[in-house]
Symmetry: none
Subunit: 202 residues, 4 copies
DNA sequence: TATGAATGAGAGTTCATTCAT
DNA sequence: AATGAATGAACTCTCATTCAT
């Protein structure tokens, strides 16, 4: 069993799989899960319709794989940006800035995420929420708790607060237009939120 | 008692029509637009499958009628509750309280609203946003502007602020579970928001 | 049982029935039998959809009644015109002239006739052919046989010849456009046919 | 042997496609367009109901393809037979003979042709007339004009005359019974027509 | 007689999925 | 691994017909 060949096949496999997932992103984004057409996805990726079943066992499995991919990619992006700052206040600002940026630069992925989080399919919703747990953790462990410890933020339930911030972020994300413009500026939001968080309030 | 007028009103808001809209609410809420089955709706309302087409010209027309109904009913509910208070601060608290209440008591309607606002169908999204304009107006004209005039809130762009509050409200609404429980208490939210709005901040 | 009332009802019955048949003519002409919509017919006649079933037991029965009406009315028209002439040659010319006239002035009835004669429904086709037997008789007994007896036409099988002339007439009728214009002038046809019939030929 | 070209030709004139068109011919012939059942066609061709949509985008598209096929096949048949003769008179006789033959041997195709030419659907009618233009040309360019030039026929408008002959032919075709018997013998018709055409008449 | 709400069989069409090549 | 013809369940929508009023 030559190792080299295995690696090559993996590479090809990976490439095709990614092409299919990319095409799926656009289709699911513009049509929703039920409205999406599996054959169209395979064609858009440059393959015949049967090909997609060599990589995903069903339409549902494809969506679940896509959900995982989106959540992981989004999280990676956010972690990288947020950690560029040290100060929790700056980190919070970065969180909203980077969050909007990611959505604007990944409109289809963003739309899939929001559609799944708000859509009626319980399995997809759950999987998406699970995928976004690391981002909750990022908010809690690397922004809110340090901020409270440093006395920058008042003492709040970090879990509930992180939930509120995620909710707010997702809500704002859903106002991003198809052309990638948001009605609400991230700095403005961050400023507003910092008022609610800041020490001395209440 | 003019018979013609009666008949016309019946046509627009007859018993059968309402039964169908109610059944449609549940079906669309649990299955989404594309996943919904129009025969099942008619059956669930207690009629044969063809009957629904005596009232709505297509599945799409049914959804549009439902969107209008939901937006109007939601707005009516909010207006009634919010106006029971005079003070803008109390009104803002009421806004979040009543908002959550409405969603908890109208889970299916709420889910339809959120699914449409975040879903991929541009026409439905637009129609829903249009239907919610009166609620934006309620926030602006009866809460934010009076609050600023009374010096309770700092001077902010009322339109952007109303957008932020609606976004926040809708985001919170989307966290209400299928059993009608929200992770975020409305008073807590309102408190947080009031910090961001209050005079003397920033 | 007052006789007067009976008569009135008959009159109303007759009027309504005729209105329905008129509307049916247009609908069947433009949509064909299967494509025709019974409700639309009733509405076009000024009645609610149920009404038509007070006069015709089914869509099929309506069409059969219409076929009889068309054939009888067409025949009446032709007899009246043809008998205005005495000479068989003039009568033959009149036959084509009046035939085209009738179609041009009764476009919908004409189209129903032609559609039924050429359509796939055996029952309708048969009924229509039966309805047109009197016109065959008119050709045979009042044009061809007298013409042969007077030595104006050569001796031909009158039945086959009548069949040919009817076939030709119906074929020409089918070339009449929706605006009521025919590509072939009736005099020209009649002239051509008279060449084929005339004594001394062959 | 380029594989691609094979595939393309298969797509246009593959076995399955032809089987479907054959089944469609019978169904449309016996039921008319609106009465035809597309599932029945696919089943009759030996396939599942969905299969037909792999070859024709809609019922209407199927009919249009069938119209083209019928017109082309009919024309091919006529050209081959008519050109076996040199003399315009013999060619005209052949025209009627072969025409009847074709209908008798292709009853379903013939019925579809006649139904479409006389039916209420404008698009089908137009397409069928267009498909039959080559047969008009055959009459004009290879029978009537040569006959006039040779002095066998009198000088007539060739277009109008061709129209009359086609009309007559189609009319006669419509009298062919379901068992394939015509009331009018083709020689008899041709003889009658030649009387109308012959030099020295009028 | 006239009405029109309700019915439900039936049609065209879509598309996820299978599988032989 | 890739293909694409074939499948058939499922869905939206139509409309002839019934019937209580």
């Amino acid at each position: 069993m030559p190792r080299h060949k295995e690696t090559e096949r993996d590479k090809v496999m990976g490439k095709t799989r990614l092409l299919l997932l990319e095409a799926a992103t656009d289709e699911f984004a513009s049509e929703g899960y039920n409205g999406a057409n599996i054959n169209r996805i395979s064609k858009a990726a440059g393959f015949a319709k049967g090909t997609i079943y060599n990589y995903f066992s069903s339409k549902r499995a494809l969506m679940l794989a896509l959900i995982d991919l989106i959540a992981a990619s989004h999280h990676r992006y956010m972690v990288e940006r947020v950690r560029q700052e040290e100060d929790p206040i700056r980190r919070l600002q970065r969180f909203f800035e980077a969050g909007l940026e990611w959505i604007v630069h990944n409109l289809s992925q963003g739309r899939v995420m929001l559609t799944m989080l708000n859509g009626p399919d319980a399995e997809f919703k759950l999987r998406m929420w699970q995928g976004y747990q690391p981002m909750h953790q990022l908010l809690i462990a690397e922004i809110l708790v340090p901020g409270m410890e440093l006395g920058l933020f008042r003492q709040l339930d970090p879990v509930a607060t992180a939930g509120l911030l995620m909710t707010l972020y997702l809500g704002i994300g859903s106002t991003v237009s198809d052309e990638g413009r948001s009605q609400l500026a991230p700095e403005w939001i961050a400023g507003f939120v910092l008022e609610g968080l800041r020490q001395g309030a209440g």
